[in-house]
């Protein structure tokens, strides 16, 4: 049975979607991620979609669902690497990817997650706005 591999980077899970996403595969990914979050106690999930040449409403829904489920399990999700053509199409399609935070690259995503987590631990308010890079509490040297 085909599965999308999930990598563990500290307390962050990294998923890189490299294949043409079939609906069943997408559903399996949702399940696998939830299991892994609980199993590893991960606090962050980075989903790299740089290899996806389209994101339709089903895939969009999958991403939103993963973000919601992860949040319930105390993990933040960031989707990274969206291609310009995909972004433009999503705008035209009217899909807003509610509840999904995004970042340009895996690196940006990790930075975002660390910052969000740090803010949470210190008790600072975190800009919990989806689809916006918000490195709250990030020290100046980080750039």
């Amino acid at each position: 049975m085909d599965r999308i591999p999930i990598l563990t980077l500290g307390d962050i899970l990294l998923v890189s979607i490299q294949v043409d996403l079939e609906d069943q595969l997408a559903l399996r990914l949702q399940e696998d991620l939830s299991d892994r979050i609980v199993a590893t106690g991960a606090h962050g999930v980075v989903i790299d979609i740089s290899a996806l040449d389209i994101v339709d409403s089903f895939i969009g829904r999958m991403l939103s669902t993963i973000a919601s489920i992860s949040r319930v399990l105390d993990a933040e999700t960031v989707v990274v690497g969206m291609r310009p053509a995909v972004a433009i199409t999503l705008v035209e399609l009217g899909l807003s990817l509610k509840g999904v935070r995004t970042a340009l690259t895996v690196e940006h995503g990790l930075r975002l997650l660390r910052g969000a987590r740090a803010a949470e631990l210190i008790g600072l308010p975190d800009d919990d706005e989806p689809a916006e890079p918000a490195p709250a509490g990030e020290p100046a040297a980080a750039s």
Binding site: R83, I88, A131
Partner: protein, 282 residues
């Protein structure tokens, strides 16, 4: 062209081939005034001649027939070449019309049947000329479109202002087509430079209407989906008034009147702190 005339032409081309090609080439050469090498021109006319002979293989000669496919191909290629090298439409069409001269010379002008055949042949050559002209026009249009695109590219520079901050100064009127190109370039730059912040400066945009505002808005939303944020700067007082009058809502998109302010905002958002060293006099 009916079958009898087609046979007549086929025979003519076969029996007087060399003479026809020679006169044809000379006439065209004269009109081009040496701007095309003799050898190259000779080769082109020969190719055209051969294709024409092939076209007469069919029962009735028409420009659309299967036998004329090579002829159409050769004419198209000839037009494209002429168009690309800056020859005028007349110079291109003459390459075809010049065939009439040698054919007329060979025609026995005392024979009414021969003259009727010449009229039919002349008519056919006219069609070839028009076909050539069409291909030429099409190529010129393609060239102009290409140049317009290049101009578009040149007029939308992207500047890296800081690590993670790029600026796109828009200059000139922003129509639908241009806005699309700008949008795509901006978004691609975000990926290429890994910049989470883009400043769209519209100081150089004379007027902003609903359409333009829509495009800018779409660009910002797309950038956000990708994980980057846009700041719009260079909003002049008149533009601000127009925006409000048109009821355009920029929502939570940050807008600044100057590029400097926009840069400061982006730097701060990115966690960069600026300080002035003590003891400096400015």
């Amino acid at each position: 062209m009916d079958s009898t005339t087609t046979r007549y032409l086929a025979d003519l081309l076969r029996d007087h081939g060399d003479q026809i090609v020679k006169r044809w080439t000379a006439t065209v050469a004269a009109s081009l005034r040496g701007r095309l090498g003799e050898a190259e021109l000779g080769r082109q006319i020969n190719e055209l001649f051969t294709a024409l002979r092939e076209a007469t293989d069919g029962a009735e000669l028409t420009i659309d027939s299967a036998e004329s496919s090579e002829l159409r191909a050769v004419l198209t290629e000839l037009s494209r070449q002429r168009a690309r090298h800056g020859f005028s439409s007349t110079e291109t069409a003459i390459s075809v019309f010049a065939l009439k001269e040698p054919v007329l010379e060979i025609t026995d002008s005392t024979d009414p049947a021969a003259l009727r055949s010449f009229v039919a042949i002349s008519h056919f050559i006219d069609e070839l000329g028009l076909f050539t002209f069409e291909s030429y026009a099409k190529t010129r249009e393609e060239l102009i479109a290409d140049q317009a695109e290049q101009l578009l590219e040149l007029s939308t520079p992207v500047v890296k202002l800081w690590e993670g901050v790029v600026a796109v100064p828009l200059v000139g009127t922003l129509d639908s087509a241009r806005a699309q190109v700008v949008m795509e370039r901006l978004l691609q730059t975000l990926v290429d430079t890994g910049s989470p912040y883009a400043i769209i400066d519209i100081t150089g945009v004379p007027a902003v209407d609903t359409q333009v505002a829509q495009h800018i808005l779409k660009t910002v939303v797309a950038a956000r989906l990708m994980g980057a944020d846009c700041i719009i700067s260079g909003i002049r007082p008149q533009i601000a008034q127009t925006i409000v009058a048109l009821g355009i809502e920029f929502g939570d998109i940050v807008t600044k009147s100057s590029l400097a302010d926009a840069l400061l905002h982006a730097l701060r958002a990115g966690g960069v702190e600026l300080s002035r060293r003590a003891g400096r006099r400015d």
